[in-house]
């Protein structure tokens, strides 16, 4: 079985823990994917155009931005490799939701694992808007079954009946 795990920079521990529990005896073929979102870069371009400038920042600054993105992606993948040593690493750039479903199809994944949204601290949320736009798009468009790793939030139950 080929399992593609989508990393968002905050969920490496959660994904590796889920994998250990799911496949304690028989290890699947693992792929770990990190997509650098190019949306903010486009937004910077729009801002520059508003100030009547060309969309791309000055040459060295552009290079610095690319380097930072690449280093951050490598950092996240290395952290995941530390916990999942036999996984194949996949790195992409673009709109995350679209890259994830396209990579899942290209890589012929049998299962996709991802979290509902990046968590930067604070309590996990349940209810409306708890699934981010990336996870929602993937659930709607994935070419294979999707396992959505929700954080444990039992203390927020029972909810109104």
């Amino acid at each position: 079985m080929r399992v593609l795990c989508c990393l968002d920079g905050t969920n490496v521990e959660q994904v590796s823990k889920a994998l250990r529990e799911l496949w304690a005896t028989q290890a699947p073929t693992l792929g770990i994917l990190y997509v650098t979102d190019t949306g903010p870069r486009h937004d910077i371009g729009h801002i520059r155009e508003r100030f009547l400038r060309s969309p791309g920042p000055h040459g060295p600054r552009e290079h610095e931005m690319q380097q930072a993105e690449h280093a951050a992606a490598q950092d996240v993948l290395n952290e995941a490799l530390h916990r999942l040593p036999n996984a194949e690493t996949l790195q992409r750039q673009g709109r995350p939701e679209r890259e994830i479903v396209n990579v899942a199809a290209e890589w012929r994944a049998d299962l996709l694992i991802l979290c509902p949204r990046a968590e930067y601290g604070g309590k996990p949320t349940i209810g409306p808007k708890s699934v981010g736009h990336v996870a929602r798009f993937v659930l709607d468009h994935a070419p294979c079954p999707v396992l959505l790793l929700r954080p444990l939030a039992r203390e927020q139950f029972p909810i109104d009946r």
Binding site: D43, H46, R53, H58, A68, A72, D75
Partner: protein
């Protein structure tokens, strides 16, 4: 052409208005991705060729606004050379270190840093130079990028009326309608402080979930790494401190601010060349030359329309709408400028407004000050509503989204629509209370 073949005034008015409208629509839509400067210059050239404005009139219009052109040049030069010295990188790293490990404190520091940079070096420096630096910083720190990106963009505009030099739009307006420094500070500095507070408060509320985390200090570069040449860096800091001081003195004495900006640029350039930190070619590459063409084109187009009396009609209509009260002047000036700046761009809107407000010279000083301050305020803060450019751009993005084409930029619009009307209202009310 029509100078040699007399035609009725009505047709001249109609033609000049048509060229003006087409120029503005062209700037809004940018057909074939044409540069705004090319469109504005084409409009001006057509008016000149048709004889709807004389060459001497166009020439004197541009000469009269020499302060604006030189200020744009000096402002871009100062920012470019300060960037070459590593000042912005150094400030960003210092801001991150001062935040401890807290994402929320870093967010606050980005706001404060953006305010400081906008105040002294104008909103261009915050939006265009600080934004990519903050992007690199938060990417390295593995923090969510968008809140910090929004913070830079919004604060660039929110802090752009702290001083006359904080936004070149202020210079365009003040060149025609001078305000003494104390009046400027009373009517714009204090509302700006209020709005910076509101901006920070709303953003903390909007992004409270993303800002709960911490970051690892070890991911931060050291502040020293940002500085490529210590002597030039120190020299740049000294020159900028002197420029900031001179700006305040010049604003108080009505001395042309462009000459201060230009002197600072020359001093930094000499230092950069002596220490071999930059070259003339490198500095020239960092200056957006097309802006001069854009402003020149717009000045000529608006001057030609002014001759037809249309801008006077628009100005009289604004005064009529205000009901002759200070409250009306502030509200109409703010709303009109903010809406207009989102329809076209804040530079042409400011040029249109200074032409339209020609008629307020007969009004009482309170009404005059109300209109002038509100025009600056609306043109400075208004772009935050759409941020991605203008309503035309946003409408285009919405059409793309409807066609299931995923586009960026709409996130900005959503935040702008929530935050900006509140800030415009709060700022206008504060300004009215201080009139």
């Amino acid at each position: 052409m029509f100078q040699y073949f007399p035609i009725p005034e009505f047709w001249k008015t109609l033609l000049a208005s048509l060229v003006g409208v087409l120029t503005v629509v062209g700037i809004m839509r940018r057909p074939f991705r044409w540069n705004e400067a090319a469109i504005a210059m084409t409009g001006a050239a057509i008016l000149l060729l048709l004889g709807l404005i004389s060459f001497s009139d166009a020439f004197f219009t541009l000469i009269r606004d020499w302060n604006t052109f030189l200020f744009f040049f000096g402002m871009m030069g100062l920012s470019a050379l300060a960037e070459a010295a590593g000042l912005f990188d150094w400030l960003a790293v210092r801001a991150a270190r001062l935040a401890g490990k807290s994402a929320a404190r870093l967010f606050l520091n980005v706001f404060l840093l953006g305010s400081l940079i906008s105040m002294v070096l104008s909103n261009d420096a915050s939006a265009l130079i600080l934004t990519p630096i903050v992007y690199v910083l938060v990417t390295k720190l593995r923090l969510p990028v968008l809140p910090y990106l929004f913070a830079c963009t919004f604060i660039a505009d929110t802090a752009s009326f702290l001083l006359p030099v904080s936004n070149p739009i202020n210079i365009i307006i003040l060149s025609r309608f001078p305000l003494d420094l104390l009046t400027f500070l009373r009517l714009l500095f204090l509302p700006s402080l209020v709005l910076i507070g509101i901006n920070i408060g709303i953003f903390f509320l909007l992004y409270r979930k993303q800002l709960k985390g911490t970051f690892e200090i070890k991911r931060l570069p050291s502040a020293e790494q940002a500085v490529k040449h210590k002597a030039y860096f120190r020299y740049t800091c000294c020159v900028l401190a002197a420029v900031a001081f001179a700006y305040v003195i010049a604003s108080a004495t009505q001395f042309p601010l462009s000459l201060i900006a230009l002197s600072g640029t020359v001093l930094l350039l000499i230092g950069g060349l002596c220490w071999k930190r930059t070259s003339l070619r490198e500095t020239a590459k960092r200056i957006s030359w097309s802006i001069f063409g854009f402003i020149a084109g717009m000045f000529i187009v608006v001057r030609a329309i002014e001759d037809t009396g249309l801008t006077t009609v628009f100005g009289n209509w604004l005064i009529h709408l205000s009901g002759g009260t200070s409250f009306g002047a502030v509200m109409v000036g703010t709303a009109g400028s903010a809406l207009g700046t989102n329809l076209i761009n804040n530079v042409p809107m400011a040029v249109v407004m200074i032409s339209a407000l020609g008629g307020i010279q007969h009004a009482s000083p309170v009404i005059q000050h109300g209109f002038v301050a509100a025009t600056m305020f609306g043109c400075d803060l208004g772009p935050n509503l759409t941020t991605v450019g203008s309503l035309a751009t946003v409408l285009w993005l919405l059409i793309l989204r409807q066609r299931n084409v995923d586009v960026s930029g709409l996130d900005y619009f959503k935040v702008g629509v929530v935050v900006t009307p509140l800030m415009l209202l709060a700022g206008a009310l504060t300004m009215w209370l201080l009139l």
